[in-house]
Amino acid sequence: MPTLNYLCPTTSSELKKILKKKKTDSFILAGGTDLLVKIRHNVVKPKEIIDIKKIKKFNEIKLTKTQLNIGCAATLNEIAENKTIKEKFPAIADGSLSIGSTQIRNRGTLVGNLCNSSPVADTVPGLLIYDAKIKILSPTGTKTVSIHDFITGVGKNILKKNEIVESVILPLPKNTKSAFLKNARRKALDLSSVNVAVGLFNKSKKNPDIRIAVGACAPITKRAQKAEKFLKKNGLTDETIKKAAKMLPISPISDLRGSKEFRNKIAHRLFIKLATQLGEV
């Protein structure tokens, strides 16, 4: 019978020692809402599980003068309900809240969502528009990389086998508004057919510092730089927004969740809706 080694470090230094010896068939467990599904479907066959939830500081959501730190064991519901995140990073709060059901969000983590690196991940568009930084822990110490360099493919990221994400760092923005919208086949417990986050980082309608990310429409969700630049130059009007919609970096596929035509249309609509809304208020 297959045996499974379950490790549950309670301090970073203990974890570091474990990571030093970690092999490719050893897996990090946060909420397990992705990992357990993969184990059941035989997509991964772990010999070892490293549960990171018992390390106290990993559970923290911490605010400093310049940034917000989301620990890798903080749950999606804690994030969706966090006052600072709701105020300063609404696209991240709403993205978190849109995931699964209450039960899933009570276990699932934002960092797990990120490390799973699925193109439909609902927190990723929000992280992209806020230029999140990813703090990576390895046996030798920590380093920080940009969210824009983290995901490298469908289900792939830059993490090496003995690295974990310790936290996500969000620089505190000034004068921002943001919003997130998700389209799915039903009103709860469904993966996105399309998800969109849009943020406005200054108060200028003429030269708006707008940031856009559309998910579930490409292997890697990226910022819509062309559309952002176009709007910054040409201002935020109904017409420019419509033009910008055509510049979104999306190349959706057809699957059971929707055809590529449908996804294209919905991506445009959701973006137009959000950009218009943010421009209005």
Partner: protein, 777 residues
Amino acid sequence: MNKKFTSVGVKTKRVDAKAKVTGAAQYVDDIQFPGTLYAKVFRSTEPHAEIVSIDLEKAKKLPGVKAVICGKDFPYHTGLYHVDQYMFAMEKVRYVGEPVAAVAATSLEIAEKALKLIKVKYKKLKANYDPIKGMKKDAPLIHPDLHKYFSVPSINPKPHSNIPNHFKIRKGDPAKAFKKAHKIIENRFKVPQIQHVPLETHGAIAKTDLSGKITVWSSCQSPFTVRYLLAHCFKKQLKDFRIIAPFVGGGFGCKAGVNIEPITVALSMKCLGKPVKLILTREEEMYTIVVRQACHIRIKSGVDKNGKIIAQENEYIWDCGAYAGYGVNIVRAAGYSICGAYNIPNIKGDSIGVYTNRPVGSAFRGFGMSEIHWAIEQQMDMIAIEMGIDAVEFRKLNTLKPGSTTATCQVVTKHTGNMIACIEETAKNIGWGKKKKAGKNNYRAVGIALAQKAPAMPNNATSAAVVKLNEFGGAEVLFSGMEIGQGVMTAMGQIAAETLGISMDKVNVVGLPDTDYSPYEWQTVASRITFSCGNAVKNAAQDAIDQVKKIAAKVFECKAKDIVVQDGIIKYGKKTLPLEQVCMGYQYEDGHTIGGAIIGRGHFTAKDCINCDPKTGYSPKPVANWTYGAQAVDVEVNGETGELTIHNVSCTYDIGKVINPQGADGQAYGGIVQGMGAGIMEALVVDEKTGNVMNPSFVDYKVPTIKDMPLSMTSSFIETQQLDGPYGARGVGEHTMIPTPAAIANAVYYATGVRIQELPVTAEKVLKGLEELGKNK
């Protein structure tokens, strides 16, 4: 009837509520026996192929494996109405997921490992997923032995074809009537296969003891039919089998007939004395058990100048999937109900089942009616619109009324049911004709649809019940209608309490049958239990109370017919006697006793039901009764995304007598939500290259969640007494989901002008329609 009821018609808490809420209720998987062996099924990975060889040897040698079996070991057939399926695939496999072999081992892990050691070689055959192609003369035969299969008399297979049943209606002279028609309107519709999605997957435990007696614990809707089919399948006596049915976590039709029981029993026969447990995973449940049949539909209607339908052609081509043991009867039910609740004098109707290499089609709440009403009720709106007549008025004009004749020429009477009242009540409750306010960029409107359904059962389907009075003047009520969530235990308790003249809290509803001890019940299907089993319980209670009165008459020295029993008191004029003093015999002061323990027995079989004529479908009474109903849905369409919001649903059913108002409302709400699921999100998708189901889990097979619920639902009931129903009642279990999809589609049309003729009505389809009309925002 002016009599005041004390239990029937009174809002009553479910008698099984406490057991279910506390977790005391046991389901098959909760039953743990020491020494249990765990079963797994080896399934076909081919949609259509000859089996060249099966190698079980390696699996048999794995330590911990106690039995590995395949068709060679048990070359037996099963099938309820049409015996077309081997327990394990023999010469060929006909769908992906078909059982080919099975394993019993000391642990689930070992059983799973053993499956991997089984090797089956196939020779691929061309698979067909399209029933229209399958009907063609030169189509390859999926069942070359169809002409040799046994079917019950009401089923008409076409030898040497892919058609296991063809039901015909030939009423009046449609060709002539079409010539006279003012307008002819013809449309096509489609319904996909969908899944039942019971919360509890199929599960069974079988044990063959050393004496050879076989006990089966099964999550099933019909323990007696399971026993009957097992005895047939294994060529044994009924006494060799004992079926025990614990609580069932949802059936919806997929647990009617037999499913996994034969495999479990076969394994247990190879492991004497050991319980063998087989619980399906959700993935297996999704495509290896049974699903609702798909249907391709064409309706052509001829109307006169006043909007009366004078002729109709209805063609239902059913995708039965790989086997049709149960599905053939859905083909029949759709046949005798061919034009829905409408009075049409000239009809050409064809309901045709066709084998394909898709998952097996079978009974699903509505039993064909949900599928055909999707088409009928849209067709009615399309005619009404063409004629410029309001949809409600059009239906009132054309629906069945006393004096109308149905498709089989059955004459509707004032006792059959009152559809006009259902339509009017529904329209009133939804605010028909009043404009509904839509959000910015959105569209909103109300759609309506009707439903009719009869219990689809053999004409001799029978129910039995036993009522045992006890020392405290209460009663044990025994019957075998299964509690599958619909509230049958409560309803049977109410009927017994009412008839016995005692209060509900004195009734012990013994609802979980054991075929060795419980009275017979054919099946818990067809919305027939309140009607049929309810009658049996009422008759049994009446029998018990008649015995009470006989003894009391001696005590009171009066005639039994002058005695009444109320609130547990036996009354004759001013004289009274507590019931408990008679239940076990009446003892006089000097000690001598008359009478003894009282046991009432009752049964019920619907009278005078006649099989339909195979050439014309004619029958003056093809079914026990009809339940009519109407449903209206208020839908808002998002003009940007095509998404639907169901604001309000109102429905009205004529169910003769509401036994438990709480239960009837529950059936209405549950049916609406299940109908909404089928209406806007559900479809099983088969990859036509591989035969694999593409969405065999909840990741991509969606059913409504609490957040998708209609924002409000109202149900009302009309009570046109069913003359032979218990307290006038007839069934409503399935009817509540029948009209929902068509009502939604009709609402979407009124709101936007987009007509969706293929289920489900997804946002994607609606948005595409909006764009074609230039109405997207």
